[in-house]
Symmetry: C3
Subunit: 145 residues, 3 copies
């Protein structure tokens, strides 16, 4: 029978950039004793994203950051919303261009991530923030843990 | 026990721009009497998006619009698909760059939206359209309404 | 009662570009005998995406490809991650700008796709690849097939 579980993760960011949190997510899913199901993550902010991206070469994350910094420049004169700083409106645009939620199937007791896929919070503001991620899991929870 | 509910929202747009519909979505979820669950919205069009974005300062939406209008210019000579107007192919590109579906956990009888997060249909065509959003909710529906 | 089903699709790409796989997905959903539910697709790679896009005019797909090739240029000097080829880091950026998962409601025994919406794997690498898509379905499965 299908059941559900829910929790909230808090991810501390160190300013703009990617923070991986694949391990705590995988550990929580494993604790629920689910063999098959669907995990959904949702970031409760408009200036941070969730990203599935390569976790092998740190250059990939640095290149992603450089690309987005050029695409959505801090202090771009096109932006009128500047009260919260030159990095605030670019953060909203970056959030719109990426994802605020992820849904990942659980297969054979594991997240169906590919070999090189990690789960990241992408902080778009320059300063560190505490980001909340709402988490929902549906599946055959507790069936055989 | 996990149950599900489904409906369709129709959102009338006034041409290019964001139309918030957080309230009717939240009201429908509340009517289902769900304490914990997962809401999914899916826009049934290829020239409109769904967006979670700041609902406080209208400048944010205007800035988003300006940024995307510059990034994906109407009438760009790169586009060959022009039969439906100079804004049609840009609308498809904007849809590809943003989201056509959203999944939001329901926690403690409410959508797990952050303080400043609103749910929007983003109309990418210049003229008004009637946009259909398919809605699915799974959760402990009707358990204690 | 809500049940679930899961499978994996393998999509062979022919190098950079869109490969539609709406039919096999719709056929698999139909086989599960579900009237109402939620389908989720998740691509297990960091250099390919899933896309809902117009399936009528092939020019739309060609224009999308041209736009993204200009936006994220192969061999851009900004990228340091080049070990796997000039198209590899652009592929990661394109994946970040688009979607790695899709959730589509099932309504009245069919995917709630709009008239012109097709489901695509978007290959971002220049060479052909075999892409795995993890699939999850929750709904009144087998209730009345």
């Amino acid at each position: 029978m299908l059941r559900q579980a829910a929790t909230t993760f808090t991810v501390e960011t160190r300013g703009r950039g990617l923070v991986e949190f694949t391990r705590p997510v995988a550990a929580w899913v494993a604790q629920q004793g689910v063999a098959t199901g669907l995990l959904t993550l949702f970031v409760r902010h408009t200036s941070a994203s969730l990203l599935i991206q390569e976790n092998a070469d740190a250059d990939v994350r640095a290149d992603l950051e450089r690309f987005f910094a050029r695409l959505v420049a801090d202090g771009d004169r096109i932006f009128r919303h500047r009260a919260e700083g030159a990095d605030d409106m670019p953060a909203h645009v970056r959030a719109a261009l990426t994802a605020v939620h992820l849904s990942i199937p659980v297969v054979a007791r594991s997240l169906a991530l590919g070999t090189w896929q990690g789960i990241y919070v992408w902080e778009h503001r320059l300063r560190p923030h505490r980001r909340e991620v709402a988490v929902h899991l549906a599946g055959d929870i507790g069936a055989a843990s």
